[in-house]
């Protein structure tokens, strides 16, 4: 049966209303309104798309397709690598489902006071986490803000080389390269094969007056904590370069924040702060810097400052140096910005308010205890070397399968048949590490889950 012409989302689709409106406009037909679009370039055929369906049938059809997915809550997953499984408190979804937040966009502070305040609170809480005074509007993802941090360093120092450890996430390295093309060379510094830590010797030999910044990640992509931060910071600063750091935020419940070991610019991935993984769609990059004018001027995205109003007892909010961004400066801005990840920033503010200082510390400890338990259990299995590096790890760690004579992909196929998703295969990203997977364990994993993984691995290898 044909659906009726009046569409539920389109109030004026009633033919009678349309006729009246066209009459008011003073035209005979809709066609006259499209006079600017030359006839010769118009589409001459009907679109080959499905016919309209009722709400019920759309739901039924889409949900039927989605039911083919097997999720990380139906299986047991040990995947992290830039998108991590963490519990999302119910309040987070409640607030980000509020239709005022969900459907607002770009109104000024007078109509949208609430979202501006939430953004300021997001900036503030990230500032406390990383111990930096300036935090900007949220952005796409860690990869994108790490690229922004590199571009900022180039602008601030007028130098054109970024040094970063071999252990940087290969995807982020590739995004950084793409964003710095023609602007800066990204060069890699060796790491110690036993500890994984940055080779200070290699860093000293590569750093020069051409170096804009030394960028490290902490914890590293391979899961361990880089503990020579003060030394790296000193080497960078001694050469007039900036020290920039990318972080996973929950680790800062237990780890020293970059602002306390000399970082000039800090970036990171906010997805663990209350966002579902969403197949990678829940990412949220954050970017912070020192409260120094030339740094603030180099920030690419919106910055919201708290301010006062004419009436006592009210908080107002205002954009800082708005002329600096692409919105005003267009091609003179040297960076691009736009629609960001505001709904996730509001959610992150909710998450951090819920956890507070003690909750965050407890969570970081729980994650570490569970991941260390998993390392212990896996290291008891003959043939698996866990972790490869003898440094302290946070929630992720490497597991090498060379001695089992099985590839990670073979191991993972068998695990999947037991309902377990094994760690990310990083054999191609880091060939020097052999057959290695990157495992992630968080507060979501129970001891039973970890024991099940260990038992399954015993059977596989």
């Amino acid at each position: 049966m044909e659906l009726v012409a009046v569409h539920p989302y389109i109030p004026n689709s009633d033919p009678e209303i349309k006729r009246e409106m066209l009459g008011e406009i003073g035209v005979q037909s809709v066609e006259e309104l499209f006079a600017d679009v030359p006839k010769q370039i118009r589409l001459k055929k009907k679109l080959q798309l499905p016919h309209a369906k009722s709400e019920y049938h759309v739901r039924r059809d889409v949900e039927a397709i989605l039911s083919r997915n097997k999720t990380c809550s139906e299986l047991i997953s040990f995947l992290g690598a830039g998108c991590w499984p963490h519990y999302v408190p119910a309040v987070c979804d409640e607030i980000n489902s509020r239709s005022e937040f969900l459907t607002a966009y770009a109104g000024d502070v007078y109509s949208d006071l609430g979202r501006y305040q939430a953004f300021f609170e997001f900036q503030s809480m990230i500032g406390d986490l990383v111990a930096m005074d300036v935090v900007g509007f949220p952005w796409y993802s860690w990869g994108s803000v790490s690229a922004d941090s590199a571009r900022m360093a180039v602008m601030i120092t007028d130098r054109h080389e970024i040094l970063t450890p071999r252990t940087i996430s290969p995807d982020r390295l590739s995004i950084m390269r793409r964003h710095c093309e023609g602007l800066a060379d990204i060069k890699q510094v060796k790491n110690d094969p036993v500890s994984g830590q940055v080779s200070l010797e290699d860093l000293r030999s590569k750093i020069s007056s051409r170096t804009a910044a030394v960028y490290i990640e902490n914890p590293t992509y391979l899961g361990f904590v880089e503990s020579q931060c003060e030394e790296i910071s000193k080497i960078a600063h001694d050469h007039g370069a900036l020290f920039t750091v990318g972080v996973e935020p929950l680790s800062l419940g237990i780890l020293t924040p970059p602002g306390e070991y000399g970082a000039d610019i800090v970036c990171g991935e906010g997805q663990p702060l209350g966002m579902h993984m969403n197949f990678g769609g829940g990412l949220l990059g954050f970017l912070a810097c020192s409260d120094v004018e030339r740094f603030v001027s180099a920030m690419p995205h919106r910055l919201i400052s708290v301010t006062t109003t004419e009436r006592k007892g009210e908080w107002g909010f205002t954009y800082v140096l708005p002329e600096r961004t692409m919105f005003a400066a267009r091609d003179k801005a040297r960076s691009f910005t736009g629609t960001a990840t505001a709904l996730w920033a509001i959610t992150a503010a909710v998450y951090l308010s819920l956890l507070g200082p003690n909750g965050l510390r407890e969570l970081a400890e729980v994650i570490m205890q569970k991941s260390h338990y998993a390392m212990k259990r896996m290291s008891e299995i003959r043939g698996i070397r866990v972790p490869i590096f003898n440094s302290c790890h946070f929630e992720e760690f490497t597991a090498n399968f060379d001695a089992t004579e099985k590839t990670v992909s073979q191991v993972n196929k068998v695990l999947l048949s037991y309902g377990i998703i094994g760690g990310k295969d990083i054999s191609r990203e880091f060939p020097e590490l052999g057959n290695t997977a990157l495992y992630c364990v968080t507060e979501m994993h129970t001891s039973a889950d970890i024991d099940r993984l260990a038992a399954a691995l015993e059977g596989v290898v």
């Binding site: 406009i25 309104l33 109104g107 300021f120 602007l183 780890l255 205002t318 909750g359």
Partner: protein, 520 residues
């Protein structure tokens, strides 16, 4: 001040403290999962394993609140925010159409929320099918060969397109020579900003005073062997379709350049014109504009890049492909510009837009475009009756597509009141403020309403009535407008910290530090 009293609206005003001011030491809003005894026994005190200098000495100075307090605080902030669901919200250039609840409900399914992006493809066939079919639907809508769903906003997509243009010229050995991107000033700012960020020099064309778009001759003069490409928006945010488009494309192609058309806002063209058919090499659609996904208070968005047959190999990796039995990520694309962003973009938005197209169907998409254009022209008719309002290029373009950019220059000349004041006042009437214009203000004292197809006629009438009322106030009682807003959550803001490093404070910690400094 009678007018102030009769707007019939009062904005929600909680005078809500900053969350830190609500903090009480010792409170907590969430319990984290416990560690089982066997783990505790096996691992012990884990903090001591962190090297001493890497051990956090003081917990972060986050606020301490109970769960009900957190909920109340953020519910109040949501109430002090004005979304599409709140009332008349016609921010132009943004296509603030209704975001169907069905799509929201589907997109929040655990069947998406709990998917990790690196799962074995056998476990994610459902989501891959949706992404694949959606790519194909966008091809049908645009006349392009293939799509990438990876960019997380329009500026990201334009940045990606600029890199595809680079990659194409590099492949042909011409990148060193082709350094320039041509754009038009009425295009979205990212059409200049993103290629500049990608390393191009940008040449900007200005509109002819009579037609509202650049002359063919201006483009011819700008094009040379240095031209890498033309990156522009069409239709413009003036609602004018640049009907030279086909000719521009021919000229740029003849000179060896490529053409990327920003179709972020394609709401007036669905089913009527496909940019690929006109000869564009690249384009992008914003799902958070034409395709009804929510704007989320400014993201997360999704901007899908479309490429012609000649350029599809350059799209970012991965693209979702189908081998006849299985959906998979195709990374084997040697000419690709590589990764533009992390993973595959904002996938839940793809599901929302997929459900939207299913609901609309081909005929519904055409209907949406048609009604969006009728709504806009109806509003133009009403607004032109308001004293002090003019529509630049009205003579040459009496009818517009999705939106129109008006001017309050006359009102300002007559009364001293321009768009900033009017925007403050419009909030008093319970409407969202108006989009003015991207910089630079080619149209003086601009405002740009875009009704989209989901605005009822009654709201169009109301919008025009409110503007007429404010215009009347401006001519008869300007103080009311100059001192607005009167009914908003807050009074006029002190914007001085915007440019004062001693006063700006982007974090509470910086605010406290600077406030202490002031007292000393």
């Amino acid at each position: 001040m009678q007018e102030v009293e009769t707007t019939g609206y009062q904005g929600v005003s909680w005078k809500e403290p900053i969350v830190y001011q609500l903090s009480k030491k010792g409170r907590r809003g969430h319990r984290v999962p416990i560690v089982e005894d066997e783990i505790r026994a096996a691992i012990g005190n884990v903090a001591s394993r962190v090297p001493e200098k890497m051990r956090r000495r003081h917990p972060p100075e986050l606020p301490e609140l109970s769960e009900p307090e957190v909920v109340r605080h953020y519910i109040r902030l949501s109430q002090e925010t004005y979304g599409v669901d709140s009332g008349i919200h016609m921010h132009g250039t943004c296509t603030m159409k209704y975001n169907p609840k069905l799509n929201e409900s589907i997109a929040r399914s655990p069947k998406i929320a709990d998917l990790h992006p690196l799962q074995d493809i056998d476990t994610v066939q459902g989501i891959l099918q949706i992404m694949y079919e959606f790519q194909k639907w966008l091809c049908e809508l645009s006349g392009m060969r293939d799509f990438s769903l990876q960019p997380r906003g329009g500026a990201h997509a334009v940045f990606g397109n600029a890199h595809i243009i680079r990659a194409y010229h590099r492949m042909n050995g011409e990148l060193e020579q082709r350094r320039e991107i041509i754009t038009t000033v009425l295009s979205h700012p990212c059409n200049g900003g993103s290629p500049a960020a990608a390393g191009f020099e940008v040449v900007t064309l200005y509109p002819n005073e009579e037609t509202g778009y650049p002359d063919i001759e201006a483009l011819k003069a700008a094009v040379s062997s240095r031209t890498a490409g033309l990156m522009m928006t069409d239709p413009y945010d003036t609602g004018i379709f640049d009907s030279n488009l086909e000719e521009y494309i021919r000229i740029v192609h003849e000179a060896g350049g490529l053409v990327a058309i920003d179709q972020a806002n394609a709401n007036s063209l669905l089913g009527r014109l496909r940019i690929g058919d006109v000869g564009a090499d690249l384009c992008h659609f914003n799902l958070h504009k034409s395709f009804s996904t929510p704007h989320g208070s400014t993201g997360p968005g999704t901007a899908a890049i479309g490429a012609s047959e000649e350029l599809s190999n350059f799209l970012p990796i991965p693209i979702v492909a189908f081998d006849g039995t299985k959906y998979y990520f195709d990374y084997d694309r040697p000419d690709s510009i590589g990764k533009l962003g992390d993973f595959y973009g904002v996938v839940p938005n793809v599901v929302r837009a997929y459900a939207w197209i299913m609901t609309m169907g081909a005929e519904g998409l055409e209907e949406a475009s048609e009604v969006a254009v009728i709504n806009n022209n109806y509003l133009i008719k009403k607004l032109l009756k308001v004293r002090g309002v003019t529509l630049p290029w009205h003579e040459s373009h009496p009818f517009r597509l999705q939106e129109a950019r008006f001017s309050l220059q006359k009102l300002k000349e007559d009364t001293g009141i321009g768009v900033t004041d009017v925007n403050h006042r419009i909030v008093d009437y319970g409407l969202q403020d108006m989009e003015t214009s991207h910089e630079p203000w080619i149209v003086p004292e601009p405002f740009t309403p875009e009704p989209a197809e989901t605005t009822p006629r009654e709201d169009l009438d109301k919008f025009a009535e409110v503007l007429a009322a404010i215009s009347h106030e401006a001519y008869t009682n300007p103080e009311t407008v100059k001192t607005a807003p009167h009914k908003a959550a807050i009074s006029r803001i002190d914007t001085a910290p915007s440019h004062d490093p001693r006063r700006w404070a982007m974090t509470w910690r910086a605010y406290l530090e600077k406030a202490r400094g002031d007292k000393r």
